[in-house]
């Protein structure tokens, strides 16, 4: 037979359909592994293959979807892995009878893979490698990796298959949900970028949804890649009915979509769950004589995270790679890395992404630190919180590999140069993990002239080819040298960019910060260089994304470099910029904010210190209160006056605003905390004048068995701010401890908090104990599960719905107590 990849140049090939449904019709019990029938019922397997061949299938998928070691272990059949897979190939080959290709079918290995799951990446690779090797030795024409939900598992499968079956073409299908995204969050463009990095021969989609939902996904794949495409829809979304799973789309309906698949770029079309030979027959008939659509390769290098892709090259937006995740010269950052912490790395990553970096360079090199381990942690932590692709940056191949292994996307590696040793060490990793690489045009030395840098570029390209890489896998760093030290060499950088672009249409970046080293006005220098480099064809830069001038320079230069059609991006961005020089635009005023914004007004009169204290408490300005209280004291206000006549009215006013639903619980809490900080300044001064009489004493606890206390703590804060003495017993507190403390502290009120229906009963126990022992304490209760009805039922004296009610409730209880010696119901 003509080799498969040759056939695909001319023809559309038809895959087969579902195996499981047909085997169930032949008696396969529900939940039983179909793969086992390769040995137990070979005649049935061969017969199904033959049916599909007769229906027009050009490619038969072996009955080995679940025949990896771990999947077979679920049926205690892992010891027969070789037999089962070889038999699967043999049966398909017999049915093919020389008229169809045989694709070794590999499905998911049955669990989740790191960073999500417990199975390590290398364990998963080994599982796929083993099965692929067996299938290849049995003589398959290609390997089909199907029904992958997670791009990271697909990566492991691709590496395993390449290593186990090195000369066999790969067809790699992901499964997308109805929204066009995989289970682990990848869209078709991202998947295309990652799979292209592995040079898969055919990519596509199968299972999960029916043909109509698949067309848009296939169209997106078709626009994102020029690789051959395949598609295997289900016969619609399944419905479980009368103990069986049924699929609603008929064969005619499915076949009607076949032309749309071809229009979207499909080269291989088949069916998945619910389809039968009839479906295949009609698809084959519908497409008879149809030729595949040709698609044009993209000239870009594309890097990807799990959920987003960034192209690098001509005609697409200039790529800013944030350089700030780097411990060099940063003491705190280095210490965090030395301690194995990722908090500062995460914070910087979020900040860079928010500042507009399209990708993030990740360098965790600190002396004596296990850089490989730290790189893995950093890559995982960053990937959890930002969707930007990563540039994995290290001098050590072990750290590069550690990052590449765990990274569920297509990374850019920083870097190689023209030195043989570095090329030998790093390029195999690029190949294995499907990455792209930054290639510095230095070798044993740093060439001054552009022509010499081009020689290094050629050397790197030849080495890349030896390791099976393509030109699109390389982004050249043309070496932005320090202009103050080697002025001509810096100019040659621009020439190198021009040559790489004009002669090879290669992708180029620079590390920007070097160029201005040693000069004043560094930002002006390197941003001017950047504009000139963009004019010469530069595609990206490793740079400081926090520099607003840099963003403006890039946007403006992009207008002249074919990277901003119709100037749309520039116009959108310019609305939020600060003009660097007066722009003389009509209506533009001031120097900040949007054009036309008015300057801030000065107040009619400056606020008094008293007014500022009130504002600080109402607005929760915790940083402002201490200086303001200090100011008030300096102005001659007495401590007691500040507390009673300034701060207390402010917190009461805040409470009134809360009652009027103009402020909310967070405002109450922030205000109370602000007042607490102010009171802490006054406390020693108040105490110096002698002990003050608290307004009342309250013992406060979360009941036994309950460990929630945030609400309780806020209530205590409020009460103390209002001059009450509160003994905080914490959480999970026994009744006896509460009562003993109340007696010792001569409390008037016992306050109880509970957040669970199973613990609130302890409130009744407390009330009963107090009543039975004739103790004088009043009980107030609160918490998310407590209600007024419950409060009445257990005989408590008061109920507080939330933190806003605790002070008024306390005041009412104590007022009633003072008046009558008892608390009426409904307080």
């Amino acid at each position: 037979m003509t080799p498969l990849l040759e056939r695909l140049k001319q023809d559309i090939l038809i895959l087969d359909g579902s195996m499981g449904a047909l085997l169930q019709g032949r008696g396969l019990p529900p939940g039983y592994a179909p793969d086992l029938w390769n040995l137990e019922r070979p005649q049935d397997i061969q017969a199904v293959h033959a049916e599909y061949r007769a229906a027009g299938s050009d490619i038969l998928l072996t009955n080995t979807f679940g025949a990896s070691r771990r999947r077979l272990a679920e049926y205690q059949a892992e010891g027969r892995i070789r037999e089962i897979n070889v038999a699967g190939v043999d049966l398909a080959r017999r049915a093919a009878a020389g008229k169809a290709y045989v694709a070794g079918d590999i499905g998911p290995f049955g669990s989740t893979i790191a960073p999500f799951g417990d199975t390590t990446f290398e364990e998963a690779v080994a599982i796929f490698r083993e099965q692929a090797a067996i299938l290849a030795s049995a003589g398959v024409d290609l390997i089909a990796i199907e029904t992958m939900f997670d791009i990271q598992e697909m990566r492991a499968a691709l590496i395993g298959v390449r290593e186990g079956a090195p000369r066999v073409p790969i067809m790699a299908f992901m499964t997308y949900n109805a929204d066009g995204i995989t289970d682990s969050g990848s869209d078709p463009e991202t998947v295309a970028a990652v799979l292209e990095g592995f040079s898969v021969e055919i990519m596509g989609l199968n299972c999960s949804v029916g043909p109509e939902a698949m067309v848009p996904v296939l169209e997106r794949l078709g626009r994102a890649t020029h690789t051959y495409l395949g598609i295997e829809p289900n016969a619609g979304l399944p419905i479980h009915r009368d103990g069986k799973t049924v699929y609603p789309s008929g064969a005619e309906e499915m076949a009607a979509f076949a032309p749309a698949f071809v229009g979207a770029g499909a080269n291989i079309i088949g069916g998945c769950c619910g389809t039968t030979p009839e479906y295949i027959r009609l698809i084959s008939k519908r497409l008879k004589g149809t030729k595949p659509r040709r698609r044009t390769p993209s000239p870009h290098t594309r890097i990807a995270s799990r959920t987003g892709v960034v192209p690098i090259g001509a005609g697409v937006p200039f790529v800013l790679i944030g350089e700030k995740i780097n411990p060099t010269g940063k003491k705190l950052f280095s210490e965090a890395i030395a301690e194995g912490r990722t908090d500062l790395i995460v914070a910087e990553a979020r900040k860079e992404a928010a500042a507009g970096a399209h990708a993030l360079d990740v360098n965790v090199g600190v002396p004596l630190v296990d850089e490989a381990r730290m790189m893995e942690k950093a890559v995982i932590a960053i990937g959890n919180v930002v969707s930007s692709p990563l540039v994995i940056d290290s001098s050590f191949a072990s750290a590069l590999e550690s990052g590449l292994r765990i990274y569920p996307g297509r990374a850019l590696v920083n870097s190689v140069n023209a030195e043989e040793e570095r090329l030998e060490e790093v390029l195999p990793l690029i190949r294995r993990y499907g990455a792209a690489v930054i290639a510095l045009l230095s070798g044993d030395d740093i060439p001054e002239k552009a022509a010499d840098r081009m020689k290094n570029a050629e050397k790197i390209l030849r080495a890349a080819e030896r390791f099976g890489l393509r030109p699109e896998d390389i982004v050249f760093d043309t070496l932005a040298l320090t202009v103050s030290a080697v002025q001509e060499a810096a100019r040659q950088t621009l020439e190198t960019i021009r040559l790489l672009k004009s002669e090879w249409n290669a992708r180029t970046i620079v590390g920007l910060s070097n160029v201005s080293f040693g000069l004043p006005m560094r930002k002006t220098v390197h941003d001017t260089f950047l504009a000139m480099a963009i004019g010469a064809g530069l595609d990206g830069a490793i740079c400081d994304p926090y520099d607003p001038l840099l963003h403006q320079t890039v946007a403006a230069a992009s207008l002249f470099a074919g990277r901003d059609p119709e100037c749309r991006a520039f116009i959108d961005k310019a609305a939020g910029w600060t003009p660097l020089v007066p722009q003389a635009e009509k209506g533009a005023e001031g120097t900040t904010g949007t054009a036309g914004a008015s300057a801030s007004k000065t107040p009619d009169h400056p606020l008094t210190t008293r007014e500022k204290i009130e504002r600080a408490i109402i607005e929760g300005e915790r940083e402002a209160i201490v200086p303001l209280v200090t100011q008030a004291l300096a102005e001659g206000s007495a401590p007691f006056e500040i507390f009673v006549e300034q701060m207390t009215p402010a917190i009461r006013k805040l409470g009134d605003l809360f009652g009027a639903r103009q402020k909310f619980i967070p405002h109450l809490i922030a205000g109370a905390d602000t007042m607490k900080k102010g009171v802490e300044v006054l406390q020693p001064l108040l105490e110096a004048k002698g002990p003050t009489q608290p307004k009342g004493t309250i013992v406060f606890a979360t009941v036994k068995g309950d460990i929630h206390d945030i609400g309780k703590n806020i209530c205590i804060l409020m009460l103390r701010n209002f001059g009450y003495r509160v003994i905080d017993l914490g959480r999970n507190v026994a009744i006896e401890t509460i009562l003993e403390t109340a007696e010792k502290e001569k409390a008037q009120i016992v306050a109880l908090s509970a957040l669970m229906t199973t613990t609130m009963i302890q409130m009744k126990v407390a009330v009963d104990a107090i009543r039975e022992r004739n103790l004088p304490y009043k009980v107030m209760v609160g918490g998310a599960v407590v209600t007024p009805k419950f409060t009445t039922e257990i005989g408590a004296d008061g109920y507080g719905k939330d933190v806003g009610e605790v002070v008024p409730l306390t005041e009412r209880i104590l007022a009633a107590l003072a008046e009558t010696g008892r608390v009426p119901e409904g307080v």
């Binding site: 679920e74 960073p115 009915r241 908090d343 940083e623 945030i710 669970m756």
Partner: protein, 228 residues
């Protein structure tokens, strides 16, 4: 044919996440604001924003789900192949009576936020409160993430999902947590129970979702944010 994953729990570590300002404001019961900027209160914006940034640094989202096979719907319990004592009570009977399978889900954001909240509670109660609210929402978030992952599996197998029902709600005894933890092997994601059956770390969720035969039972409006 997509197989239903039975027989063992499925773990998820390093769950990616985003902390939405809108959700945090909702968690704090501040109505009608979609972002911190809409508050127009710089101090509050800073304080809540700080808590959110700290959340990003401290959250370590993990989860697990395990699907059980329902064998019988009793009068006061639902029996499964894996346990006859797990799904007790009328609420469970009502939830699962048209289901062939039931999946337990357990999720957590890890201990760092609550450790910090405990540390801040005395000296910085407002900061503690804001951070605790971030943690409370994000624990729910992890549950919702798992819920959505599981829902896709349910739909692919031809079923409809029921709503998510939390352990200890209604008449489903909180003591069932012990079996939930054992069946899901939740200790592998760092969750334990205290003597009151409360999960530690506290910022964790546990629940069940049923696999309902299509066209049976109430039309389930998947509201993953509802626990009853």
């Amino acid at each position: 044919m997509p197989a239903i994953r039975l027989g063992h729990p499925l773990f998820f570590h390093n769950i990616p996440f985003e902390i939405e300002e809108r959700q945090i404001l909702r968690e704090m019961r501040i109505p009608k604001k979609a972002s911190l900027a809409e508050l127009n209160e710089p101090a509050m914006e800073r304080a809540i924003g700080q808590a959110i940034e700290e959340g990003y640094r401290m959250i370590e989202g993990q989860g697990v789900y395990r699907t059980l096979t329902i064998t019988e719907i009793g009068e006061d319990r639902v029996l499964t192949r894996e346990s006859e004592t797990l799904f007790l009570g009328q609420k469970m009977v009502k939830l699962l009576r048209h289901c062939d399978y039931a999946s337990l889900i357990v999720a957590t954001i890890g201990p760092k936020i609550e450790t910090e909240v405990d540390r801040l509670s005395g000296p910085e109660p407002a900061h503690a409160y804001f951070l605790e609210r971030v943690g409370a929402w994000m624990a729910d978030y992890m549950g919702i993430w798992l819920d959505r992952m599981l829902e896709r599996e349910i739909v692919r197998a031809g079923y409809q999902r029921t709503y998510r029902f939390g352990v200890g709600y209604g008449d489903w005894p909180l003591s069932s947590q012990t079996e939930v933890m054992a069946l899901t092997e939740a200790h592998k994601i760092g969750i334990a129970l205290n003597e009151a059956f409360i999960m530690i770390p506290r910022l964790s969720i546990s629940a069940v979702i049923g696999w309902q035969k299509p066209g049976t039972g109430p039309q389930s409006t998947p509201d993953p944010e509802s626990d009853s």
